[in-house]
């Protein structure tokens, strides 16, 4: 099946070039043409969208898939015997197979659709951690976690009497591996770590960290919200126990995410929510649960969003994650070099292995002022604490400015960011 739906206006895109992704030249202008939102002007200037770590833009094929579903296939799933319901059910279940392939899960039964990364973590917190943890047990995270990989565990600690511990990070924003290993103790019952930091860009050596935890018999949840758009994810190779990510950061719609769980763990976990579709039988006295993964998908799911996510995965695979990663690294190194040339810049996040996230502060200029002044030039960045207040505290800054690149960004856009920052500096001179 082609990812280019009927009615798409840009026929000769990168997607239609022959296979052999590593050898072919990456043509950023061709991919950009697949994203209608990028064609607009903002405040009279061409939009320069550098807030991809917050959410990514959607290719026409994703937009078309959702429109097509609502125009021709919409029905509830797993219920009706009628034609449309059957079609919608097949389309929904096909995406589950597609996701299983995307992350190399052993089986589609290990793929649970959620409304996003946050819900995936909360599901594991409530259904796994809450039933496994006792007073005095530890949950080990790191200082570089997003709030969504901190707060659910705090709630569990309150409910179970367990303690939350956070491994420190270095001045470069890398996880302190020695400290992490030392903090893994006989009390540690669960490790939850971010794969790629949203505030720092750090790519954690997650496979190695999982191996360290497993050597002590501790299961690991990986927050892959920022990894999924940039890295190839192979849950079997990583040997993780849980892996969560969001659709909207991988060029799919909001309102849908994925929880991968090792089948034996998911089997043993109680349901997260009760309702329709997650049961086998119901009497007034008691109910029995549907097999995986339906046990964790109570109620009518986000059908259209799942269909959109399927189209997004098709798109990403067509462009190729190797192509994406190498182009983004080029953007990141160019932007980093040019921004540093401005002077008076402190980078926040200088790990050796980084995704295309450029966090920084300018001497004497608050990130919010940077954000507003750049916005006036059509440049969208994020300014704030990035839902990672412990990271801000670690680097002793109230907030940072963050430019985050996707594969559809150009070198010219990185230069526009630099020109914009020069204006900021002049204004505050």
């Amino acid at each position: 099946m082609s990812v280019m739906s009927a009615g798409h206006v840009t026929s000769p895109s990168i997607l239609s070039t022959p296979a052999g992704s590593l050898s072919r030249q990456f043509d950023v202008e061709r991919v950009r043409a697949d994203f209608p939102i990028l064609q607009q002007k903002v405040r009279g200037k061409p939009l320069v969208y550098l807030d991809n770590a917050a959410t990514s833009q959607k290719p026409q094929s994703v937009i078309d898939a959702i429109t097509h579903f609502y125009s021709g296939e919409n029905a509830n799933i797993h219920r009706g015997v009628h034609y449309l319901s059957e079609r919608a059910t097949v389309a929904y279940d096909e995406v589950r197979d597609k996701v299983a392939g995307f992350i190399n899960a052993r089986s589609s039964r290990e793929v649970v659709f959620t409304k996003g990364t946050t819900e995936g973590i909360n599901l594991v917190a409530q259904s796994y951690a809450r039933t496994h943890l006792k007073p005095g047990d530890d949950i080990l995270i790191s200082v570089m976690e997003h709030h969504s990989n901190i707060v659910p565990w705090q709630l569990i600690c309150e409910q179970t009497g367990a303690n939350l511990r956070a491994a420190p990070i270095t001045d470069d924003g890398e996880l302190d591996l020695d400290a992490f290993e030392q903090m893994l103790s006989g009390r540690t019952k669960l490790v939850a770590l971010v794969h790629v930091s949203n505030a720092l860009g750090t790519i954690n050596p997650i496979k190695q960290l999982i191996a360290l935890a497993h050597a002590r018999g501790v299961p690991v949840l990986v927050d892959g919200a920022q990894a999924a758009p940039h890295l190839t994810i192979d849950v079997q190779d990583l040997d993780c126990d849980f892996y969560v990510f969001s659709g909207h950061k991988v060029f799919g719609p909001t309102g849908v995410g994925v929880l991968y769980g090792r089948e034996s763990l998911l089997q043993a976990m109680p349901p997260y929510q009760g309702g329709g579709d997650m049961i086998a039988t119901v009497t007034i006295q008691r109910s029995t649960w549907a097999p995986l993964p339906a046990k964790f998908e109570a109620g009518t799911p986000m059908i259209a969003q799942v269909i959109g996510l399927g189209a997004a995965i098709d798109y990403v695979r067509e462009v190729g994650l190797e192509q994406i990663a190498s182009w983004e690294q080029r953007l990141l190194s160019h932007a980093t070099e040019r921004v540093l040339e401005l002077g008076g810049v402190r980078l926040i996040g200088t790990a050796r292995a980084k995704a295309s996230v450029l966090g920084f502060v300018l001497d004497g200029i608050h990130p919010h002022d940077i954000g507003t002044i750049l916005d006036d030039q059509g440049i969208a960045i994020r300014a704030g604490h990035h839902c990672a207040q412990p990271v801000m505290e670690r680097f002793q800054v109230p907030a940072t400015a963050r430019a985050s690149f996707a594969f559809y960004n150009t070198i010219d856009e990185a230069d526009a960011l630099v020109a914009g920052l020069l204006t900021v500096k002049k204004m505050f001179g």
Partner: protein, 149 residues
Amino acid sequence: MATLSGLYQDMILDHNRAPENYRQMADANRRADGSNPLCGDRLTVWLKIEDDTIKDVTFQGAGCAISKASASLMTAAVKGRTKAEAEALFERFRRLVTGDLPAAEAGTLGKLAVFSGLSEFPVRVKCASLSWHALKAALNEPDAVVSTE
């Protein structure tokens, strides 16, 4: 029409660079902390109230140019005023930055009128309001913590 120069006027940049009354107050009898959790701005306002009048007011904190300049101009504007006068001024300031104050009335705000361009930048209104919310909290309840979210 939203213009950047209407927002970042020289007076705002100057007060950001060298804010007035930017210090702790040892003999304060009221204080309040203000924070904006979404952006991480934080500040503390100290007051010395005597006979229902603001004898002295100072602030310290970390925030953007808009919030810092606004806090600086706020301290200058309310010093020597009664509690009721300060609260009435806040109400007029709030209407100014949200675009609800008729242009003719803007003149009554003195230097605070420099924030008239802010109504074109709705997401930044909370920056300018933070110190005022903290002031109001300090006037009404000692040792208060307020949030603009």
